[in-house]
Amino acid sequence: MARYTPPSQSRLGQIVDVVVLLAMTIGSLYIPLWLKLAGSDQTANIPENPTWESLGQNPVMVEKWTQLGYADPASAAELITSRFDYSFSVGSLLAMIVVIVGYYTIMLRFSEKEYREVITEKFNGD
């Protein structure tokens, strides 16, 4: 089997490749942030005129909040009542599973094709 000889890449081509890779990387990580789609939904159900009792805090908890700098219940109310929203649809869960399984499937198939070329050239090449 003939050995594969790669073409040489110009300096400009190398720079372009790095720029493309960086743009894809930063884009994929920052786009959800820019679109404000990143992070979990949190809701805070703050009662009117909150007291430590209405926030469900016992005396030891109150002592700790005070030590942490939250001297009155109003200042700690948002932290205490904040909750994540874990509701989701089965459709979005299935979509995620398809995306993950599809990704690994594509990658393993392409990798296998490339790997066979490597092994053939490595062990049959001489």
């Binding site: 990580l29 786009i31 990143a38 700790k64 990798s111 296998e112 092994i119 490595k122």
Partner: protein, 471 residues
């Protein structure tokens, strides 16, 4: 059986074929331990506590142990493969020899992004800690950015100047940071006469039920994320077959202890609602203990843990980037070794601005999530990797420095736990998960149809192994 010398100068491990200089083999098992624990120990000082926010105190403990099981599987699998594939790039080089080039390219990117994002998260924490201390001493409104930039630039310079000094620095500050956790535990624990912990009054039921336990797995990974980075030092340790398994397995044991102690002390000192959103929870725990000595010690511990972690991350990310450059997966310019310091200096410098972009422009929990997602994709690759490794080169075909027991049970357990962790990330951070996987699909197509044409085929396979079975 092929009995080969994995430190051979003829094989992978001493730079590219025809290279004049390679990386220096100067590290021992303690440095490997320091690299692994040094990167991860910061997870006890910040970030793990978001698991408390996602599911409550008990959920975080259960997540801590399940994540510990996940990482024990990672360490066992990694130790076997790495004790055989002793070359810079770690899992990237493993994938290149065992699965194929495209998988290797993806794994290389997982490593670079997991470590670079972790480095950014560490720098953010340095800034936050300094700001907290400034506020406590009456100086409001401190600009954190100069401290973030300074931390990253100083550690990049240290990495540029040489691996031995870098990891010796990590060894010392990691040991101090780990000792600080032990001292905090001893000083507050009722076993030794302390009476400040209030578990009974502070721990509540599960606020989100069992779903919260699953959700907590997301940040439960943060207790240990990065321990697999020990393999990046493979080309710079004196005895890879001995030092890598020893350093990695000792590292995961250290972290299991540190994680449990950290949880125990923190949930006994502050309400879970605060702990779940705290920026520097161990420092806060020390403040609440009422001891000025502990507060100063844990402040120093937090600073050292973040610096050690960022230091190790720069080391590991640059090795992975360097290894990909050396193989022409990326422009070969990155595959250069410094003629004097023998470090991958171009890769070290190149990754600095990327870390800065995220450290200065993204919130901490998002940066951590990016890091965790890259790590999670990497852990999902590992069971595939070890199953193919055993299939292509059964135990009697090549000599291993370490053989992990009960194969394929650890691989199956790891795969199942990765599935749970993906679901945990999906609960709240599904958009990032899909965005990141779409990125990897696009970049895989770019590599397969464009970039791979510049790669020599046979030269990627550098280990002196026999032909894989089935090929």
């Amino acid at each position: 059986m092929t009995d080969f010398d994995i430190t051979s100068g003829e094989a992978d491990g001493m730079g590219p074929r025809g290279a004049k200089v390679g990386l220096l083999r100067v590290l021992g098992p303690a440095h490997v331990w320091a690299l692994g624990v040094g990167i991860v120990l910061v997870g006890e000082y910040m970030g793990w506590n978001f698991a408390v926010g996602k599911g409550g105190a008990y959920a975080a403990l259960i997540a801590c142990w399940f994540a510990g099981l996940l990482y024990s599987c990672v360490a066992m699998i990694d130790s076997e493969v790495t004790s055989t594939v002793a070359a810079a790039g770690g899992q990237y080089t493993q994938a290149k020899h065992i699965v194929g080039p495209l998988m290797a390219f993806n794994v290389g990117l997982y490593l670079v992004f997991a470590y670079t994002m972790l480095e950014a998260a560490n720098a953010i924490t340095v800034g936050f800690l300094i700001d907290t201390v400034a506020v406590m001493s009456g100086h409001d409104g401190l600009d954190q950015r100069p401290f973030i930039v300074l931390a990253i630039m100083f550690l990049a310079w240290l990495n540029y100047r040489g691996v031995l000094a870098t990891l010796t620095f990590s060894l010392v500050i990691t040991a101090i940071a780990f000792s600080a956790i032990i001292i905090l535990f001893l000083a507050t624990s009722p076993i030794f006469g302390g009476d400040v912990l209030r578990h009974k009054e502070l721990i509540t039921d599960l606020p989100y039920g069992w779903l919260g336990i699953l959700a907590a797995m997301h940040f439960g990974l943060w207790y240990y994320l990065g321990i697999e980075g020990t393999t990046q030092a493979a080309e710079e340790v004196r005895s890879p077959a001995r030092a890598l398994p020893f350093g990695t397995l000792a590292g995961i044991m250290t972290l299991l202890i540190a994680a449990t102690l950290t949880w125990y002390v923190c949930v006994g000192l502050m309400p879970w609602e605060y702990l779940g959103q705290a920026g520097v929870p161990l420092f806060d725990a020390a403040r609440l203990s009422g001891s000025t000595f502990l507060m100063i010690l844990l402040g120093i511990g937090t600073l050292f843990a973040t610096l050690a972690s960022a230091n190790g991350c720069i080391n590991d990310a640059s090795r992975a980037w360097f290894a990909m450059g050396r193989d022409h997966y990326l422009p070969s310019w990155f595959g250069a070794v410094h003629p004097v310091y023998r470090t991958p200096y171009r890769s070290i410098i190149f990754l600095v601005p990327i870390a800065l972009i995220f450290a200065l422009g993204a919130p901490l929990d998002q940066v951590i999530t990016f890091s965790i997602l890259s790590g999670l994709l990497e852990y999902t690759f590992m069971p595939i990797n070890v199953i193919l490794f055993r299939k292509k080169w059964p135990l009697d075909t090549i000599k291993r420095g370490y053989e992990h027991p009960f194969h394929p049970l650890p691989a199956i357990v790891l795969l199942c736990l990765c599935g749970i962790a993906f679901f945990a990330v999906f609960l709240g951070y599904g958009t990032q998960l899909v965005a990141m996987i779409v990125f990897y699909v696009i970049v895989s197509l770019w590599f397969h149809f464009w970039r791979y044409r510049f790669v020599r085929r046979a030269e990627q396979f550098t280990m002196p192994w026999p032909r894989p079975q089935g090929y």
